[in-house]
Amino acid sequence: MTTDFPAVRINKGAGGWGPGLVVRVHGDRNIVLSVTGGDEHPVAKRIAELTGGRVVNAFNSGAPDDQVMCAVINCGGTARSGVYPKKRIPTVNVFTASPGGPLQKYITDDIYVSGVGVSNVETAEAGTPAIGDDGAETGQASQPPQPDGSDAAVNSTAVGEVKKESAFSRFIIKFGGAIGYVITSLLNAGREGVKLILNTVIPFMAYVALIMGIVNYTGLANWIARSVSPLAGSLWGLLLLGIITGLPILSPFLGPGAAIAQIIGVLMGAQIATGALPVRYALPTLFAIDGQVGCDFIPVGLSLGEAQSETVDVGVPAVLFGRQLTSPLAVLIAYGFSFLV
């Protein structure tokens, strides 16, 4: 009975990708293939331990694909990340790589998870369907094998004969692994960064550039500068600006997306660039134009923090009234420090 074997849930780790996988042993399909170099990877050992499968180190011996329950890889690039998903073998990457590269289309979230550490592997709830279940074999309670204390991990490694490696090659493998980890996380961070720039920053830039173009070309910029400079050019003006942005009736409307603060920020920057405003006024200005920050978002922000409805009732006016005081106060503090700029 295949259902005698417990299902194991493998979640993504910090910085990882994918909603997670559930795997279990099905008859002969019981191998956790460790494709990480060196000894079997602890994640592979853990999966084998919880599922009742066995670890095979791909660098020591091969395994037929139809007996592989899942593959544990440490691939920072895109090659190995794609090879096993292409064969529809559930793939667990201990590095944080997200799908990319020539095999990207095979790396789907039903078969691939990344950033996995030992703590991300856990016994699934009874009845959780696993990859490869044929639908007929659910509903039967499965007993996880009791991990017997501290030496459980050691027991599970007894399956394959591990070649004894010299200290030197151990070091090389460890060193290589560390380098690989660093490079993978940087590469992945780059991918995330480009995504952020492309999806969030550049669209906003296009909008700002258009507004700036209109404002500059029509001469509106000069008009705004003439009317704002007296405000931004003196402590009293900045304080007044701080009071205005902190007005409880106004601040929730000034808030959304910081759209207004950002436009004013760009305009102020332009004024400083032309020398119309002294550089040191930049610091108090940054706080004066931002007195309303987040006032449009208070109930949402509080509920993200799992606040009770009573807390929201009290919290919204508390923040709004607090701002009336703290918004000009922030300008004053910043003005005090502005002499250091």
Binding site: G190, V201, G213, V279, L286, I289, T311, V341
Partner: protein, 224 residues
């Protein structure tokens, strides 16, 4: 011959329609419109190029490094630090928002409020949300959609004095921390005042007890 038939270049007498742009109101209007229509978007395109070359390269490498850093540090370690920071007023409105914003970014940073008793949640939100712009001086990944509060002002400073730019970045960040501490304490005061004034004292007393209970269970779990 009427003057209308005279072409601008003067020679030909055969043209029956006036082509003198300078003296025809309609053509003048069209020419004016065309020039300024293109001019407007050219000016916009110039601003775009300025932003794209001035902001994106630095931003991209900075964001890349910061993403990698947050991966290396790991959310779990930060959660521990955040729970510790939540205990004391000074760290609750400085260190806790700082870690939350850098690690979880806007808007997920507010979820760390769940580690606090109900009565501190509004002040924590206020302090945290007030840091989502100062943080962009060094950690632009934390609030990629709202960069231009900082980037707009600082771009002007960068043009005038690049030394002042670095000092401004450091001061915006540090003064930001001072401001959120002040803001957190003031809002905490207002929250307590409104709890008393609104007659919610009993309800929040209960919340505090529930929180203390939850803390104890958590500690027991940790021990066991």
């Amino acid at each position: 011959m009427t003057p209308l038939l005279v072409a601008p270049w003067g020679g030909s007498q055969l043209l029956a329609i006036p082509l003198d742009v300078k003296s025809n109101a309609v053509m003048q209007g069209i020419a004016w419109f065309a020039t300024h229509f293109i001019g407007l978007f050219k000016a916009a395109a110039e601003s775009f190029v300025g932003l794209a070359t001035g902001v994106i390269p630095l931003l991209l490498v900075l964001i890349t490094f910061m993403y990698a850093l947050t991966t290396w540090i790991g959310e779990k370690r930060v959660t521990h630090a955040v729970q510790w920071a939540g205990k004391y007023a000074v760290t609750r409105y400085t260190l806790m928002p700082l870690l939350a914003v850098i690690m979880l970014t806007n808007p997920m940073c507010y979820t760390f409020g769940r580690f606090l008793p109900e009565r501190y949640k509004p002040a924590y939100y206020d302090a945290t949300v007030s840091f989502v712009h100062p943080v962009t001086a060094f950690f632009p990944h934390a609030n990629g959609a709202e960069l231009f509060v900082w980037a707009g002002v600082s771009a002007g400073v960068l043009k005038v004095d690049s030394g002042a730019y670095a000092r401004l970045a450091a001061l915006y960040f540090l003064v930001g921390l001072i401001v959120i501490l002040m803001r957190g304490l003031v809002t905490q005061g207002f929250t307590n005042f409104l709890i008393k004034r609104g007659g919610h004292e009993a309800v929040f007393q209960k919340f505090d007890e529930d929180y203390a209970q939850g803390q104890m269970e958590r500690t027991e779990e940790a021990v066991a």
